[in-house]
Amino acid sequence: MNLEFTAEEQAFRDEVRAFIAENYPKHLADFGMREDMEREDFLAWHKILGKKGWSVPAWPTEYGGTGWTPTQRYIWSEENARASTVMPLPFGVSMVGPVIYTFGNAEQKAKHLPGIVSGDVWWCQGYSEPGAGSDLASLKTTAVRDGDHYIINGQKTWTTLAQHADWGFFLCRTDPTAKQQEGISFILVDMKTPGVEVKPIKLLDGGYEVNETWLTDVRVPVENLVGQENKGWTYAKFLLAHERSGIAGVARSKRGIEKLREIAANESLDGAPLIKDFDFAKKVSQLEIDLAALEITELRTLAGEQAGKGPGPESSILKIKGTEIQQRLTELTLEAVGTYGAPYMGGVSNDNGSNEFPVGPDYATHAAATYFNMRKTSIYGGSNEIQRNIITKMILGL
């Protein structure tokens, strides 16, 4: 047992660091909120990594994975967080990709995986439905077989960044007589198919990162069914466990704490830097301690995975603690900026004046919006309550 990097690992870290320094697009350095970003901004780094062969490290090497050890993947995350890179979105890389290479057929793999690896194809996720939330199994969207097509009808919600998506993966009910979690299928849909309509949802931070997606008589070829008909729930659960394992966001939160320290060094309290205020510094320390614990917990989980165990219910801990830390971090950042947390920087116009350029210091600009936005993290991806139910059942055995 030890925490030291081997000489090989140190060399790898240097290689990664140099690669990022040389290749990461300068105009995306230390980028702020996602909602400011264009489609190409999201994909720029992904495409560079695709060419390098580093866009899907966790995948099997035959599909483009790097074959890195957990330690190498840890180093990779750390270095990207250190440089605040805009990482590839998870919908292709961490969600549908693993489902396709695990459960898809040869044609599906050949057709869909390369676009995910290269970053040319943007995927979105059609799981949630209005009125269903974390209760995925109650979904109502139907796919009815019609010759060599499915006709899909229904409404999905919380489809993140679907406004940019080329393809979507949808859970649809293919057997209306089956119970709750049975009779569901996992179907890939070209978002340009007639009948697919994406409407943005305005969130409480003022941004538009999620959508409602209507599917009206959408005709999808049967070859877009992944795995077996009516077995979609199995793939959905597999995907959710995969999704959770990346959700801890340790390296990003580390970088967030660094930024928080920089902000608190600039803000003042009683004539001294805020970071010198014991009360405030203590909250930062507590956050660092909880994050240090989570980092080791994640590394232990990765080590377990390497030892042959797949991502198990332990990943629910990563989801719960990871999102709690992200939320506390953004809350503390809002607290740090003080009075200048109040100005709203969204697009609402105002005859009398501004909201056109920042009020107060730059770092205060998005503090409130980010805090508001991050409330979602304990709700999505299976709410933290659902995660506790999973641990209750799978680990405590109750």
Binding site: S128, G131, A132, G133, S134, D135, S138, T157, W158, I201, K202, L203, L204, G206, E267, S268, L269, D270, G271, L274, D279, F280, L334, E335, G338, T339, Y340, G341, A342, P343, Y344, G346, V348, N350, D351, N352, G353, S354, N355, V359, G360, A368, A369, Y371, F372, N373, R375, K376, S378, I379, Y380, S383, N384, E385, R388
Partner: protein, 376 residues
Amino acid sequence: MDFNFTEEQDMVRAGLSRLVREQYDWETRRKAIASSAGWRPEVWAQLAELGILGMPFSEADGGFGGGAVDAMVIMQEFGKGLVVEPFIPTVVCAGGFLKHGGTAAQKEEHIGGIVAGSAVFAFAYAEPRGRFDYADLETTAAKDGAGYVLNGHKAVVIGAPWASHLIVTARTGGARRDRDGVSVFVVAKDAAGITTRDYVTVDGRRASEVYFENVALPADALIGEEGAGLALIELVTDEAIAALCAEACGAMKVAHAMTVEYSRQRKQFGVPIGSFQVLQHRMVDMYTAYEQALSLTYLATLRLGSDERARKQAVSAAKVGVGQAARLIGQEAVQIHGGNGVTDEYAIGHFFKRLTIFDSEFGNVDHHLKRHVSLG
């Protein structure tokens, strides 16, 4: 000891409750805060008509002889509807400075306008680097003949876009952060040398950055004694905090009720989510936090007239307790609303945002816990 409201207070509550319900419904509010004005001057006029704006002034000053308890009742009702109109800056803050520090002439000049709704005030005290210290001032008022010349930059002045007048704190002597040397002035917003930059706040109000460049103030712009303004500021902001806590209590009560109702309607796994014990107990904890916050708001309000130490203790206790409850209730309400809780469409997110910004007004939880310790 007496925990009853007067008949008049009950009537004011009922009247405002009706006004908010009937004329300040959610859609109306949404349009108003998105409009170029950002508030509803016609509601302000109506409040003047109903006597609400004159409630906490003595009859001698042209008011209706009410006090802090009346302001509490009023702000609770405003909190329930997230009313953005500037009752605290105008009536509680400016009114407070005039009542406690104003000369007869100053009262004569300004209180009538406040009561009638024609004079709207904003309180310009915060500065870019001052955080919650009222004495940490870079704004200066230099003696110039009988009057003063004002220079400086005030940050996030709530309600300033709507204001006809400003109450401004400035240093007339001493070094930055000295207790001595702080003075308070009243100034018309259209005075030469004042520029503002207006904007929307995340909780749907309006505020300005206010810049003073060689603004000439007459001698009678000074409220209270020159250089001895800090004690007055502390008194008035304590009154403002009590009113602000009352507003937060109103908002928390509605946020809690909305959440309970949502949990009754919303189904998951085939049953209302309100049937899950985990959510039930969390809603109980929200309820308990609200009741405790309300108690602290009563305590602060009823101690505003006590000796300085008792007043500060009670006010800081309230700002701490209400701040903690506001955080808990706001966050839990959003969480229990699930995905809908983070949308702009549902009202609950707006209550959450107002309850968030509440903490940073007039000193946050940490600040007031420190003040409480220092009084220990």
